[in-house]
Symmetry: C2
Subunit: 353 residues, 2 copies
């Protein structure tokens, strides 16, 4: 409960590539929206900049210890994209910072809303965020040159808390259905467990129907204009949640338009879903990176810590700014607007409304 | 090489629910197309009907031994849908007959073409069909009530042969790109291996570019009208292939319109992708089941065993029959046409052309 806190600490994690550019602009907008609270010391910002791929590689850690310490001093975090190293790249075989942060801060619920009213789309995804196929990260086994093994781990508690969260949300939001998405016909042990727990929990919510589908056919159903209206709240193991939310975001304009909330009991983290676009920075165009997705994540952050009015203002301003087809129209220049100009435009819009 | 055989044995496996109805109709059409070859004993049909859920449950086997024996007496198999039991259902915890047959007959390549010319879609999927997340089937571990584990297994040979098959197809079909789809940034050990092998193999095909994407963003790319044209041949580990091909089939009219080829060194199996629709049979409407998808699979079967002309005739007839929006127009009756009437219509169309 954030109201009872003397002071809420918002961590701003730049990450890699365009990350520091866009999070910097989002921070400006947040400071503008929360200026009274900042003045009264009710809100503090803490910039954390050690979560870069260079630093992680040098320390051979998905999240260097000192960075983790700093993260734990925050209540909520706004995170820019981080570069994910992978075997065969020049980086060491360390886990994605994203995935590691979800585990280290126990951010068990990855919540992604997707709304396209004119297409009848109003979905909220509850993705399990700490286990499943992501549990062991880089700790799979190369038994020998011929044989590699990875593990999927599902726990009672891990499944229970995400499914419960989905049902609680459904109840609060007046939804009538929760859809569990698994591949329990093949991945029988872990997905079977997830589905069985969903059936148990559903018994406690008599007004809410539990529907279940396999992930393969779900990707088809989301596309079908007639069937996509059948879905409201979806709850999924980690990997299927990863896959289905990217597909779903496409109907709304692509992953660049979607924010993602990573919620735990103690900490919460909000992020843009797009990548770190290192090329833009190499070409010296980092300041032109579009901060609108991280600003969408900022709306979720504001709502989460109880600043509902401020969240609404930002939502409205972004919706208005979004009417501009490209950022070119903000400046009239051919190279569009910088992130700073976009942020200024958002703040002016908030002021004017 | 089927030409060198004295006689090709085509197994007809009814499966469950509407399976026996639709495979029966497909057999009629195949017998019609191949009547000369049947007369000369160059082609023989072998109906195998023990692959029902009742028999499998009674024998507690994904494929009963005697059925497997019969399957091995065939060169190619046309298979109807089979009911997949899952934990918590009334059936014992046995593996899907589909998955088991792919493993038992070593049908390592699941090939699914998806074509929608007017949308610029011309994709061929090469799905690894015997290992990955499907390797251990129901043999995951319930460590205790709190903990369940499943395994993903990737072998050098298993990855090599499917990736090689994809490149060989690309070369033969004059394609310029093969796209490997993994989640190697997170499932680092097994997917990392798959991707590394793809990079190795690509070196032997200088005219063909190897492109690689993660499965999450791929589901979004297929939807984007501008980006979907970027893909030609895709090669994927088992689970991602399962997911992405269902999504892809949706653009072509849904899984009901798609056939799937399961190819091995020794045996091959062709199937419709849709389910067994037990409800239709319970309601006494089994004979009304639509055999068009299993007939699409029959085209692939004919091509595979070298009857290219017959395959073309069937293709053309189905395309013409497909012009009828519903089967109602075949009979003028409100309840549409039975599978038998549809098959008759297909044969008449072949005759007339
Ligand atoms: C970057 C990657 C590790 C991450 C994931 O797989 O979860 C991303 O795709 C996401 O959905 O947040
Ligand atoms: C029925 C099921 C076991 C099967 C699979 O998962 O492979 C099906 O979805 C398919 O794609 O052929």
């Amino acid at each position: 409960d954030y109201e009872s806190l003397d002071s809420i600490v918002i961590g701003i994690v730049g990450g890699d590539g365009i990350g520091p550019f866009i999070t910097g602009e989002a921070q400006k907008v947040l400071e503008f929206l929360l200026k009274d609270q900042v003045q009264e010391n009710k809100v503090r910002f803490k910039v954390i900049d050690g979560l870069t791929i260079e630093n992680r590689a040098a320390q051979k850690a998905a999240i260097p210890v000192d960075v983790l310490e700093e993260l734990k001093q925050c209540h909520v975090i706004l995170k820019g994209p981080t570069t994910t190293p992978r075997a065969g790249d020049k980086w060491p075989n360390i886990e994605s910072a994203n995935v590691a942060m979800r585990k280290e801060l126990d951010l068990f619920a990855n919540v992604r809303p997707v709304k396209v009213p004119e297409q009848g789309i109003d979905w909220t995804f509850y993705r399990e965020n700490t286990e499943g196929a992501y549990t062991l990260g880089s700790k799979g086994i190369h038994v020998n040159d011929d044989l590699a093994i990875d593990f999927t781990v599902t726990t009672q508690e891990g499944s229970h808390r995400i499914i419960k969260a989905a049902f609680e949300y459904a109840k609060k939001a007046g939804k009538t259905k929760v859809t569990a998405v698994t591949k329990a016909n093949v991945i029988k042990t872990t997905d079977g467990k997830f589905l069985a727990i969903a059936k148990e929990i559903a018994k406690d919510y008599p007004g809410i129907e539990l529907d279940d589908w396999y992930i393969d056919i779900m990707t088809a159903k989301l596309i079908d204009p007639k069937r996509r209206r059948d879905f409201q709240v979806m709850v999924l193991p980690n990997l299927y949640g990863d896959i289905l939310t990217d597909e779903a975001a496409e109907f709304q304009g692509g992953v660049g338009t979607a924010g993602s909330a990573n919620i735990g009991k103690r900490y919460s983290m909000f992020e843009a879903i797009h990548g770190s676009a290192p090329r833009m920075v190499e070409e010296g165009r980092g300041e032109y990176a579009d901060p609108s997705s991280i600003m969408r994540a900022s709306i979720m952050l504001l709502e989460h810590i109880g600043f509902i009015d401020e969240a609404k203002k930002l939502q409205m301003a972004l919706d208005i700014c979004g009417l501009y087809e490209t950022k070119v129209s903000i400046t009239g220049r051919k190279d569009g607007a910088t992130g700073a100009e976009y942020a200024q435009y958002v703040m002016d819009t908030v002021q004017d409304e």
